[in-house]
Amino acid sequence: MSVITPGREAPSARRKEQLAIVDCDVHTFPPTMGALDAYMPQRWRGYASTLARGYSGSTLGKYPRVAWIGSRHDARPADGSLPGSDLGMIREQLLDMWNIEYAVMTPVYAMQTNFDYAAVVARAFNDWQLEFLDAEPRLRGSITISYEDGPAAAAEIRRAAADKRFVQVLAAARTLEPLGRRKYWPIYEACVEHGLPIAFHYGGQGNPTTGAGWPYYYFEDHGGMSMSLATQATSFVFEGVLDRFPTLKVVLVEGGFAWIKPLFWRMDKAYDTIRGDVQLQRKPSEYFRDHFWLTTQPMEEPTNAKQFPEIIADIGADKLMFASDYPHWDFDAPDMAFPARIDDAVKRRIMGDNARALYGLGVA
């Protein structure tokens, strides 16, 4: 019989993607939350573990997740640091394992009640990201902002945007008010000034997570994030944000994508029937093409996998951008995430070309 040697499935055993991939959702992190203090003025150091508050408390404590810090078991650094803090592991488990050309970091920060502190934390996240950006040329960043405070968020965008390795601005999916509301418009103004998309990412706090109160289970909390992204998209359209900022681009991150088509159908029907509420320049679905993108994770798995290619076709192959969500437990592996074969040309767009176009990657 064969010689037994210790080891694990070698990276070369994975079917290495020949396509150069852009991963649009990677959660890098400092080794501890406290490590972020180094990027803050003295007065705020330690505040996170003393008096910092959030809205309604974070759902992190309310719903035990599938795994610790919501991360893959095998993505935990041996020294107990936070998953996503070890660049070596990120390279080994993600960037090198598949042919990842670019990976977009998405540090979501949601404890936004103290506006002064939130601004400090956002800035700290952005300064910290520079370390990873310097150390690993394949990485790109997202400008973290204190999104409940429009003017402060806009100021941070303007400050950080000078570094072109920041490819978008990042806010959470669940906010205190729907994101189309005017208090958030200073953010969008700064985004379009610098040609940066705004990304709404899984997470956030402020309201019960459904329109009928707080659910019992992580099953509902996690799955319900798509519904939160849906109500945000609705707000964006009907509040006229896209009329006011016709060049603004929106990325909906970590909510899957199959729900977007029936949502825009419903918006169209509603807008056609219910007059007198708002006057838009276009009908709702006409905004979708020019303004919205979605990342693929968690990848839809229709009951009948044969329906998968038509789901993509109905949304539009140019609207979807692959994301792994490394190191989270619901990680999508680039080579095995798709539940069915799709056309090579479609796959190329989703696995990289759409993101390159949106974020201007690989352009001098």
């Binding site: 019989m1 080891g7 694990r8 893959r72 095995m336």
Partner: protein
């Protein structure tokens, strides 16, 4: 451990040995890096009953539950399995002769994304132990 290019995990559950392929049939995660745990069943909301300590292997990625005894995935025992290998305990002098290699066609089928839905058949191996020799049957 790596055997014939495949990573396989061998588990000792109260003196019984099981071996499964270290590759989750869902998205290829390192299955054997996941925790082994009890099985949980329930008769009604709020009722959590724990049985069969250590016999359930959860994928470290999406948490799918695999029965180490059968390799079957709990939520779809007929459609989703991980490959088991027979593991036996034998004295050194009685170690089984080398088995013929696994049909290369099987390996290829597993590595290709399915054309048409997913076929989540993966590999289990029967394990047995005697003295210090863990004998893994690859056939």
């Amino acid at each position: 451990m790596t055997v014939e290019g495949r990573s396989i995990g061998v588990f000792n559950v109260d003196g019984e040995y099981f071996a499964v392929r270290n590759r989750c049939p869902h998205e290829g995660g390192p299955l054997c890096a996941g925790p082994t745990t009890m099985h949980v069943v329930s008769e009604r909301p709020g009722h959590y009953e724990w049985t069969r300590a250590g016999e359930i292997l959860r994928c470290p990625w999406h948490g799918w539950e695999f029965d180490l005894r059968t390799g079957e995935c709990w939520f779809d025992p007929t459609g989703v399995r991980v490959r088991r290998y027979e593991v036996g305990v034998s004295p050194g002098s009685a170690i089984a002769p080398p088995q013929p290699p696994v049909n290369a066609g099987d390996v290829r089928a597993e590595d290709e994304p399915a054309q048409d839905g997913r076929s989540y058949v993966a590999e289990t191996y029967t394990v047995s132990v005697d003295e210090e020799y863990v004998v893994l049957e690859m056939g």
